[in-house]
């Protein structure tokens, strides 16, 4: 059991470093899109929600899971779409100037 926890911790620390390296030096113009794009990725909790909502019988867990599915999907779909909408605006100017 603790072994799983430790592996998770290793993955977490390494991924954090990757995140810091990859995202550093983002120009201010992209701060908002980066934030809302990252926010959409945090909707990955939808995977967890699906796993606990998928059980056959109805109980507290599946109901909570279902609510979580709805909320996380709002986060994912809304987040990616709104980011794209913003980036589309940035794109437009590149061609007009």
């Amino acid at each position: 059991m603790t072994e799983g926890l430790l592996t998770g911790l290793v993955v977490f620390v390494l991924a954090s470093f990757v995140g810091f390296e990859v995202i550093n030096k983002v120009p201010p113009t992209l701060h908002t899109p980066l934030m809302s794009g990252a926010n959409a990725i945090s909707g990955i909790a939808v995977v967890g929600a699906l796993l606990i909502a998928g059980a056959q019988e109805w109980n507290v867990t599946t109901i909570l899971g279902l609510i979580a599915v709805v909320l996380a999907t709002v986060n994912v779909v809304g987040g990616f779409l709104v980011t794209d909408r913003m980036l589309q605006m940035f794109k437009k100017k590149e061609t007009t100037t």
Binding site: M35, A38, N39, I44, G48, A49, I52, D84
Partner: protein, 467 residues
């Protein structure tokens, strides 16, 4: 067959994680950003489909209903939201993400408790952590939303015995956690901890003022990632841990950038109850300034702008509130037609979220190579004829540079006072978010143009056309 399927699912998760990293990397450059967002979305789709193939997912009907409902709400919200309301939107998305994570944490705790009558130590620990981070993200974001939307006051809210109360709450949370770790079969304690977590989120954002929202929004963004990571720990899912950690890191980087742009440590932003009603500050240093200012009308303003060689526009939250970004772009276009060189100077914390001004000006079709960062434009101000300040205040206050009694002392500012002339569009002489008087307004070469940014700018456009 089953092992093949499981290996396939794991590989799909790996692909998704790789796509997230690639997507975030591409989001860092204007040319590839859109593509990056798309790649991340593809990663998400792969992760969701792979999860649906998992053997423990048996009942699809309700899940599909949930996904469709969520997608519809998300898509409509993303289409409908006005660009000026983007800080609220990002805030609320953070919140629902945090809510989803904490619901999964509660749900999984319940499942383990139901199935075994008890919950292993490490699972309990992670569940508490997940509920805490997710809960704080949820209520913190909701409160930030309420503040940004103007549902509650944007100034810091403090109440008597706030700090002792917070410490008491923290102590009871810790005590409850320890108890639960020893006696996991106690749903009542677990629910109490959940409630306290929700309270924490609200109490954490309540004393933070509107102008500090860029920090809060980025920090909550980071939290929403950490909450997702916690879910990954609960379900032993590495892909979730990776995705959450990436978001956590990106949010933290933005938080850092915002704090640096204000030259205030994060602790000061979070616990300083900065701005708003904190009167009687900055008075000492500002007392000797001559308190007379000069105001002009839009005709005179248009003449100053129209016959200038170079104009730098400094937008702030006031432009966002008045939705004046389109008018501003029109004004700039008119001026450029007359041969004026127009640039925009953007302070990193102008507005209510990181990059707020950039998004608004992009919406109004301003080319992003016309937008200059504070550091790049500050060296040029001595050669600028007119600096046009639109709804910005604290970020152009020279007191940050030369008055060490001022609460904003040390904050890097846009050196508008070094331009040949400054025109400040403002509704009244009221102080900005920090509650500090701005000596820029009383300088000889500064003129005030009173009115809502929207009205004033459209009047300016009309007047410039007639020049």
């Amino acid at each position: 067959m089953n092992t093949y399927l499981n290996t396939g699912i794991e590989l799909a998760y790996l692909t998704a994680a790789a796509l997230f990293i690639l997507g975030l990397k591409k989001l860092g450059s204007p040319a590839t950003a859109r593509n990056g967002n798309f790649l991340a979305a593809v990663g998400m789709l792969i992760a969701i489909i792979a999860t649906l193939l998992n053997q423990s997912v048996l009942d699809y009907e309700w899940i599909l209903v949930g996904i469709i409902a969520g997608s519809l709400i998300g898509a409509i919200a993303a289409q409908k939201v006005a660009m000026t309301d983007m800080p609220q939107m990002v805030g609320i998305f953070n919140g629902v993400g945090g809510a989803a994570s904490s619901l999964v944490a509660v749900g999984e705790f319940w499942r383990l408790l139901d199935a075994n009558g008890t919950v292993p130590l490490d699972a309990t620990f992670i569940a508490i952590l997940g509920v805490l981070i997710g809960g704080v993200t949820l209520t913190g974001s909701l409160l930030a939303f309420a503040k940004l939307q103007g549902l509650i006051t944007g100034s810091p809210v403090t109440f008597p015995f706030q700090q002792p109360f917070n410490f008491l709450l923290l102590a009871s949370f810790l005590a409850g956690s320890v108890y639960l770790l020893i006696q996991p079969a106690n749903p009542a304690i677990f629910l109490t901890l959940t409630t306290i977590s929700l309270l924490f989120g609200a109490l954490f954002v309540l004393p933070i003022g509107g102008g500090d929202m860029p920090v809060v929004v980025s920090l909550l963004n980071s939290f929403s990632g950490l909450a997702a990571s916690a879910v990954g720990f609960i379900l032993y899912n590495n892909m979730l841990i990776v995705a959450g950690a990436l978001v956590g890191a990106s949010g933290l980087i933005l938080t850092q950038i915002m704090c640096k742009a204000m030259n205030r440590p994060l602790t000061n932003v979070l616990f300083g109850a900065f701005g708003g009603d904190s009167v009687a500050v900055g008075g000492a240093g500002g007392a000797e300034i001559d308190k007379t200012y000069r105001s002009i009308d839009s005709e005179e303003g248009a003449m100053m702008l129209g016959y200038a060689r170079s104009v730098v526009i400094v937008p702030g939250y006031g432009m966002a509130v008045a939705q004046a970004q389109h008018g501003v772009r029109e004004l700039a276009a008119q001026l450029e037609k007359m041969g004026v060189d127009v640039k925009y100077a953007i302070h990193p914390v102008a507005g209510r979220m990181p990059g707020h001004m950039n998004v608004l000006l992009a919406e109004a079709n301003v080319a992003y190579d016309r937008l200059y960062d504070m550091d790049d434009i500050n060296t040029e101000f001595e050669r600028v004829d007119v600096a046009l300040v639109i709804g910005a205040n604290d970020v152009v206050n020279p007191a940050a540079r030369n008055d060490n009694s001022s609460p904003i002392y040390g904050m890097p500012i846009i050196d508008v006072d070094k331009a040949q002339h400054a025109i400040v569009i403002k509704r009244s002489m009221r102080t900005g978010f920090a509650g500090v008087d701005n000596e820029l307004f009383y300088k000889d070469k500064t003129t005030m143009l009173f009115g809502s940014a929207q009205d004033v700018v459209s009047k300016l456009v009309g007047e410039v056309k007639q020049l």
